[in-house]
Symmetry: C2
Subunit: 287 residues, 2 copies
């Protein structure tokens, strides 16, 4: 049976009862919640959910409804860019599933969410219907607050839904994409410029590593964060990224405090890092 | 169903057709061969085999027969100490199995091997019947060549079998023990003294890390090896061992060339090392 992953990003990282409700909604739809993480500074939570086509589709729609009922973007302030209460909903093909299957599910999710709760969606990644929307960063440009200003611009009409945004819940970026590693690194400095400089050096678009997207965020007076997404975790193994960040941070005289994985890591990526650091060619494992 | 692991160590690391035959014998007994590794300098091979009680018992007996038929210890020269053609045969309790079960299997294997091929055995580890035999190093003292000299010493009679050794195949150390991580590290020096000094610093008995056993071996003019066994891989994680070896080697001005795992690693040990080096609190993994 074809298996899929969805990774709903919700614009709520403080009231965890909302995330509990989203988890329950996913489970009631027959999907399995593999991981959850919430961050108060980002004011955002990320769920990693797996299941068959029907389960992840039902879970995605149910979570959009939870987001609508419990999150009001008009008063939402966090460091992470967002356009919606349910901000991003990617569909990822896992075992026995193709990218085409994931694209079909993404489009179907957009239609069902519009019919049910009247939140419009933009399709991104492999599900994009306009080439410029393939990049999630493009879709999120201007954020929730910018959606209204562009309401009459034909280039900014949602792919599904005939309003610029839902008043409280904004819009959703629904996509299809390959498995991705999301990884944050905290640096021991209050200087956001350092995080931004390192993010720029890591980012593919500005001479960094292949398929790496990176942003710098301020956390508090003592800490900043480099937030990373890597699609080609096989071509760009996590240890290379971590060692490069350590070197770049050290050039700024800044210490790396800790790393943090957002969601799940393919087991192969865990093993590749263990092999690198232990200096072994293989890590045959038991159980 | 109770699952066990056996880790037969055979005194043959050059003629791989012998190891092929041992693998086939294990599979014919209904066991699963998870890993195999052979080393020409040690002149030794290690198989990691899993199965239910009956399968691992039958596999152990069948491999003793293969060793008897194909290995002649009278002409065997390698850097690793050994007393037999099948040198060591530990039984390890895995899922749903107790150490008592593993001890019973070890004793039963000794009896069946003696009945079938007339190779005597010493019981070691948890299967030891004399306290001094709990330590494998004690059982292997004097090696194959020493077995005859001690034939009339009551302290050195095998636990099963009424001869000091089989003429060609020697004796077998059959044991029961907890899961163990076996790990070799190669150093870029021809000076065996460096490997031995580092082994001594790592070994529990001489002030090193808990449950660590370590030996130094000469490989060639450019390389020596520190060979390690760790039983408490949870208390003594692999990364601590690797980082300590790097520091000790660097104090000798010697570079670490590579590591090598002999047999399987519990998945928890792979993940613990990845977490340490990536600086993350958890590595939630997919598939």
């Amino acid at each position: 049976m074809a298996l899929f992953e969805i990774v709903p990003n919700l614009s709520e990282g403080r009231d965890l009862t909302t995330i509990d409700a989203a988890v329950r909604a996913a489970e009631a739809a027959g999907a399995r919640v593999l991981h959850r993480t919430s961050d108060a500074t980002h004011h955002r939570s990320v769920l990693t959910i797996a299941g068959d086509a029907r389960a992840v589709l039902d879970a995605g729609v149910a979570i959009a409804q939870v987001a609508l009922e419990r999150i009001d973007l008009r008063t939402h302030r966090g460091v992470h860019p967002r356009i919606g209460a349910l901000d991003v909903l990617p569909f990822v093909p896992l075992r026995d599933a193709s990218m085409d299957d994931a694209v079909r599910l993404a489009h179907e999710a957009g239609r069902r969410i519009w019919e049910r709760v009247r939140i419009p969606s933009f399709y991104y990644g492999e599900a994009a219907r306009r080439p410029e929307r393939a990049r999630l960063a493009h879709v999120r440009k201007g954020e929730f607050e910018g959606l209204v200003a562009r309401a009459n611009d034909p280039a900014w009409q949602p792919d599904v839904g005939d309003v610029a945004r839902h008043e409280r819940a904004g819009a959703i970026a629904i996509g299809a994409r390959a498995l991705l590693v999301a990884f944050n690194v905290e640096l021991a400095t209050g200087d956001l410029g350092v995080a931004r400089a390192i993010a720029r050096q890591l980012r593919e678009g500005t001479g960094g590593l292949r398929t790496v997207r990176a942003l710098g965020f301020a956390l508090d007076a003592q800490r900043v964060q480099v937030s990373l997404n890597v699609t080609s975790y096989e071509a760009v193994p996590l240890y290379r990224l971590v060692e490069l960040i350590r070197a770049l941070a050290s050039a700024h005289g800044v210490r790396v405090l800790r790393g943090e994985l957002i969601g799940c890591l393919p087991r192969a990526a865990v093993e590749a890092s263990a092999r690198y650091y232990l200096g072994v060619a293989e890590t045959p494992s038991l159980s």
